[in-house]
C-alpha cells in the first residue's frame, strides 16, 4: 500500500485517527464540549479563565499521556524522533502556545472538531496553519535546517 511513500503508515494512521475522532465525539455528546487540546490545556493550567470546568480540563489533559503510555506498553514502545537541539522545542513551543490562544484553537479544535462541523472559521484557520507549516518546513529545508 502506498508504494510511493514507503514510510507512510496509512492503516495505523486511519485507526489512530478514528480513535481521536471517537474521543472527540465522546467529549461532544457526553459533556457537550469541543475536544480542543490547546483550550483545555490553557484551562487546566489556569492560563484561561473561561471554558470547560477546570476539573474536566485537567482530567482530559492527564488522559493524553496516560493513553500514549498504554499504547507504548501494549505495542512494546512508540517511536518519537525529536530534533537533537532544544531550540526548535523552545521556539516551536512559544509559537504554538501564543498562536493557538490568539487563533482560538489548534489541530484538534479547528482541524478535527471545527472542520467536521463545517465551521467557516475552522476551515480557514486549518488552511492557514497547514499552509504556514508547509512554508515553514520548506524554508527550513532550503535553509539547510532539516
Amino acid at each position: 500500500m502506498l508504494a510511493a511513500f514507503p514510510h507512510a503508515m496509512p492503516v495505523e494512521g486511519l485507526i489512530g485517527g478514528l480513535m481521536i475522532g471517537i474521543a472527540a465525539a465522546l467529549m461532544l455528546l457526553g459533556l457537550g464540549r469541543i475536544a480542543g487540546v490547546s483550550g483545555l490545556a490553557a484551562r487546566a493550567t489556569g492560563i484561561a479563565d473561561s471554558g470547560a470546568p477546570r476539573s474536566i480540563a485537567i482530567a482530559f489533559v492527564i488522559g493524553l499521556p496516560l493513553g500514549a503510555f498504554l499504547v507504548s506498553l501494549a505495542t512494546g514502545g512508540v517511536v518519537t524522533r525529536f530534533p537533537p537541539s532544544v531550540i526548535p522545542m523552545i521556539l516551536g513551543g512559544l509559537l504554538v502556545g501564543f498562536g493557538t490562544r490568539l487563533g482560538s484553537g489548534c489541530t484538534s479544535g479547528h482541524g478535527v472538531c471545527g472542520m467536521s462541523r463545517l465551521s467557516r472559521r475552522s476551515l480557514i484557520a486549518t488552511a492557514i496553519f497547514m499552509a504556514s507549516g508547509f512554508i515553514t518546513v520548506a524554508l527550513m529545508r532550503f535553509g539547510g535546517l532539516l
Binding site: 514510510h7 507512510a8 503508515m9 496509512p10 494512521g13 486511519l14 489512530g16 485517527g17 478514528l18 480513535m19 481521536i20 471517537i22 474521543a23 472527540a24 461532544l28 455528546l29 457526553g30 459533556l31 457537550g32 490545556a41 492560563i47 476539573s55 482530567a59 489533559v61 492527564i62 488522559g63 493524553l64 499521556p65 496516560l66 493513553g67 500514549a68 507504548s72 512508540v78 524522533r81 525529536f82 530534533p83 532544544v86 522545542m89 516551536g92 513551543g93 509559537l95 504554538v96 502556545g97 498562536g99 493557538t100 490562544r101 487563533g103 482560538s104 489548534c106 489541530t107 484538534s108 478535527v112 462541523r117 472559521r121 496553519f129 499552509a131 504556514s132 515553514t136 518546513v137 520548506a138
Partner: protein, 135 residues
Amino acid sequence: MIRLAIALVAGSIFGAGLAFSGMSDPARVQGFLDLFGNWDPTLAFVMGGAIIPMAFAWLIQRRIDKPFADAHFSLPGTVDIDRKLAIGAGLFGAGWGISGLCPGPGLADLAINPLPALTFVIAMLAGMTVHRVTN
C-alpha cells in the same frame, strides 16, 4: 464524578490514538509538512479518520437537546473571520513546522519521551501566558 471519568477516558483514547497513529513522533508530522523532502502522507489519514466519527457526532448533536452527562451544550458560536484568527493560525503553523509538535502530541509525549516533550510543553505554556498578559 461521571463527568471527570468521561473526560479522563476521552483524553486517554485521544492520547492513545495520537501514539498509535504515529502523530506523537515529531519527525513524522514534520515529514507531512515537508513537501520538498521525503513526504509522509500519514497525517492526512489520521485527520480523515478523526473527522469521520466527529461528522456523525455533529449529526447526532443536532438532534438531541443536551449531552448525555451534562446540562447543556457549551459550544463556540463565534463566526467572525478576523485578523486574530488568521495571525494566530499562521504563528501556530510556524511553531508546528519548527517543532513537529502541536499541543496534543506535546502533552502525550510527556509519557514517552519526557525531557524534550517537557521542554516543548513549558515553552507552549509560556507562549499561552504571553498571550494572556498581552491581550
